[in-house]
């Protein structure tokens, strides 16, 4: 039991009411955010130069654009599933005529293997898997020191999170659902109690037509804009400028915008190429001894999904721009994981780490890398 003096009771009541009201506003604002799954956007309808602007959308809304497309429209021949590391992997890597019906890049946020598996399970149930090849991008271990391989954030859409709930018997299923319930709770909390969701929910900026063709924009307007915005912190800039603009004919809106193959255009990003940018601190590793089993299990599950649908699956491990850090602990853990799955198709490019032309920055490969990757896929007879 506890006993509070009168002034403490009053303090606590005011605090509780104030805090509760603010949380209520956050909840209300998150409920108002548009999901692009209710009115899915069809990437097939985009013209070659058009961009789908994502400024002013939460990361989860960005994801809903891709998921909505995956659910409602014809799947591509080749589908890439991964996170922002492969965001610049566009259809042009396969040749000049690539479009969304041949290749589509389903990347979003910081998805890791368990989330990608659930994403694919969901698409599988809808019969919307890519027809010929599923490419899975695995975050290279030395990027983020092993994070986002099996450790992940809270960015998968909640119902997709539940789509991986499976288990052998009732006990295992119960355990699985309990674990998923905890994840779901965290997932909802992180999305609802989030400054981005709050501001964008209050400004309701997601509903406008988001297509823009940079080649059709007036060249004078492209670099203009509100100069004062540049003095704000980066995160705030994207929110403020994303809220209900008059026109998307300004280059700052094209950053992160989706092309018709789901990729983003590297020309609109500002990168600094720094070798070994991520320190590999022992105290902040994302994978550790014992995780090799979990990594292998996730890879096997994704591969089995492809097999039962007669779709080839290839895993790609991209390089990071770095000196020789091949013996890092996270790389060793990952090597052990790969040794557990010798039958799977894995394109391991970690050793392509020294050529600066292959990178936009430490973590994002350049279009040149993706062309080399496609050549590699051809050599492995994964492409027609």
């Amino acid at each position: 039991m506890l006993q509070l003096p009168r002034h403490q009771c009053r303090w606590l009541t005011v605090f509780g009411l104030g805090f509760g009201a603010l949380v209520g506003i956050a909840l209300w604002s998150s409920l108002g955010l548009e999901s692009f799954r209710d009115r899915p956007f069809d990437f097939h309808t985009m013209r070659p130069n058009e961009l789908f602007v994502v400024r002013g959308l939460t990361r989860r809304q960005e994801g809903s654009v891709k998921v909505g497309f995956a659910e409602a429209y014809a799947p591509p021949q080749i589908g890439l599933y991964g996170n922002h590391v492969f965001q610049h992997f566009g259809a042009e890597a396969f040749g000049p005529s690539g479009d969304a019906s041949y290749f589509f890049n389903f990347w979003y946020a910081n998805l890791a293997l368990p989330e990608i598996y659930r994403y694919l399970r969901h698409v599988e149930r809808l019969g919307q898997l890519p027809k010929k090849l599923i490419l899975i991008q695995i975050t290279s271990p030395n990027l983020d020191n092993g994070l986002f391989i099996i450790n992940y954030g809270h960015e998968l859409l909640p119902d997709l999170l539940l789509s991986g709930a499976e288990g052998e018997g009732p006990a295992e299923r119960t355990l699985h659902y309990t674990y998923l319930g905890w994840q779901l709770l965290g997932n909802v909390l992180h999305e609802t109690l989030n400054y981005n969701t709050l501001i964008l929910g209050l400004t309701r900026s997601g509903t406008s037509n988001r297509l823009v063709d940079p080649t059709a924009c007036d060249p004078d307007s492209v670099t203009s804009g509100r100069a004062w915005l540049r003095h704000l912190p980066g995160g705030l800039q994207s929110i403020v400028e994303g809220a209900k603009p008059r026109s998307y004919c300004q280059v700052r809106f094209w950053r992160g915008a989706f092309r018709r193959d789901g990729s983003t255009d590297a020309r609109y990003e500002s990168y600094a190429l720094i070798q070994d940018e991520d320190p590999l601190r022992d105290t902040e590793r994302g994978i550790n001894a014992g995780d090799e089993q979990a990594i292998a299990r996730q890879m096997q599950a994704i591969d089995a999904l492809g097999r039962r649908n007669a779709v080839k699956v290839a895993f790609v491990v991209p390089p990071a721009y770095e000196t020789d850090r091949r013996n890092s602990v996270v790389n060793q853990v990952f090597d052990r994981a790969l040794a557990l799955v010798p039958d799977l198709t894995v394109v391991d490019d970690r050793d392509m780490r020294t050529d600066p032309a292959l990178f936009m920055d430490y973590r994002h490969p350049s279009p040149k890398y993706f062309r080399a990757l496609v050549d590699e896929l051809r050599r492995c007879a994964l492409l027609d």
Partner: protein, 454 residues
């Protein structure tokens, strides 16, 4: 689990709070123990297992005093926690130092490739202090396992201190077990919790982001102004990161009627390096004073003892030569002060504070840079041109505001003020609610507490 996560603030804390006050007094420590084990266990079962094994070992072996020779018992009692500390935290450092080959390392794969258990340096020191205090007969070994587990695992201080002594917590924990009706200071607890949360996100973490700006540019391109600005941001990042955790810990303790000590007493207002270490991470300083420095003879061989103690301070903070160098740097500052105290103490207060702050700040890059990079950083600082570079007015304005908060506002007026000297802003429940909510919706901007690494 992090204090700065929605799971902790929205789920774990309210649930633990309600259950703690609903159950009968005799079950309160069990609730705290279980909650703390869940809090810690979220980061991994292997590290939880090691933690619980170390606790049970210390609890059990403390009863051997009086039966076995004292020195043998001390060695046995601290062996397992110390072994875990060495194996989990220092093994890789040792291997790198002796240049052990991959073949040899592979025998120890599990240890050096397992993530460092959070707070291992903190809880190991707490368990060691318990054992030594029992050996010195300052305290009796506690027969109550639930009280001992509650002491070692109490989640507010579990991950990043303060480093508690059993004697300081024992009576408070007993009171929790026996007092039917508790009277927690909830207002003050929530005030500290919300201010700490904001301090972490909007001071420490934003300073961290500002530091990153300089890292985007090769060292050769940085100007002297850039480097001093970077040093300023590093100083503020480290201080406010640990400060924020510490006041959140105190606030959480108050919610459960446990008073934890203040670990930071406005250390940047110190006038000399010795005073700095009486204000910075106070519980670590006193731990090393009581269990190392005095036992080595204290002032009898001052220079040697100080350098040894500060080497340990460095090693405690991290397994790397840069940390050892940082510790030795501070040891040297203390020794130099010791030798020049008559001159130093005559400096005007403002000059002494500024001098001490600059000297301390010059050491912080060692927390983030290797020894070689740090030397290169200092050499470049000596020759870099004095002109504007990557940092601009918005950075200096922000840094200036934090410096004003640090040097111009006293905590006794707004943070640790007496109930009779109410601060209209910081003691307001509306202010606390707004801060808590703002912190909560911005936690995605936040990073892990730096001291979790230790």
């Amino acid at each position: 689990m992090n204090f700065n996560s929605p799971e902790f603030l929205v789920l774990f804390l309210p649930t633990t709070f309600v259950v703690f006050y609903v159950v009968p007094a005799r079950l309160r420590l069990i609730v705290l123990g279980v909650a703390s084990i869940v809090f810690y266990g979220v980061s991994g079962l292997a590290v939880l297992g090691a933690f619980l094994a170390a606790i049970l070992w210390a609890y059990t072996t403390a009863f051997l005093f009086g039966h076995w020779p004292r020195r043998v018992t001390i060695a046995v009692a601290i062996s397992l926690p110390a072994l875990f500390l060495v194996m989990f935290k220092y093994l890789n450092f040792i291997f790198n130092t002796v240049q052990a080959g991959p073949e040899f390392r592979s025998h120890f794969w599990v240890f050096y490739s397992v993530l460092l258990p959070a707070g291992i340096s903190f809880y190991t020191f707490e368990l060691i202090s318990y054992v030594i205090d029992v050996a010195d007969r300052k305290i009796e070994p506690d027969r109550s396992l639930q009280r001992f587990v509650a002491f070692a695992t109490f989640f507010p201080h579990l991950i990043a201190g303060p480093i508690m002594r059993y004697a300081n917590l024992r009576d408070q924990l007993r009171a929790l077990q026996t007092t039917p009706v508790l009277k927690p200071d909830i207002g003050s607890g929530l005030k500290l919790l919300s201010i700490g949360l904001i301090g972490k996100i909007f001071v420490a973490d934003i300073c961290g982001v500002a530091v990153e700006r300089a890292k985007q540019v090769p060292l050769e391109q940085l100007t002297a102004i850039d480097q001093w600005t970077e040093i300023g941001f590093w100083s503020m990042q480290i201080y406010y990161d640990f400060w924020a955790y510490s006041i959140m810990a105190i606030g959480l303790g108050r919610l459960f009627c446990v008073e934890l000590p203040v670990n930071f007493r406005e250390p940047y207002l110190s006038e000399n390096p010795r005073e700095f270490w009486r204000r910075w991470h106070v519980t670590l300083s006193y731990w090393l004073r009581d269990y190392v420095y005095i036992r080595m003879g204290g002032r009898e061989n001052y220079v040697r003892n100080i350098l040894v103690v500060f080497s340990l301070v460095g090693l405690w903070h991290g397994a790397g030569w840069n940390f050892v160098a940082w510790g030795l740097y501070h040891g040297m500052l203390v020794v130099i002060y010791h030798a020049t105290a008559p001159v130093w103490d005559r400096l005007p207060r403002a000059v002494a504070v500024a001098l001490c702050f600059v000297l301390v700040s010059l050491g912080w890059p060692l927390f983030f840079l290797s020894l070689g990079d740090y030397i290169a950083f200092l050499l470049h600082l000596a020759s870099a041109p004095w002109r504007v570079g990557v940092y601009g007015p918005k950075h200096w304005l922000y840094l200036g505001a934090i410096l004003f908060l640090t040097f111009g506002v006293r905590e006794r007026d707004w943070l640790y003020n007496e109930p009779s000297r109410r601060n209209r802003l910081t003691d307001s429940p509306v202010f606390a609610a707004v801060l808590m909510f703002t912190g909560l919706v911005c936690v995605s901007l936040s990073s892990t507490f730096i001291y979790f690494r230790f």
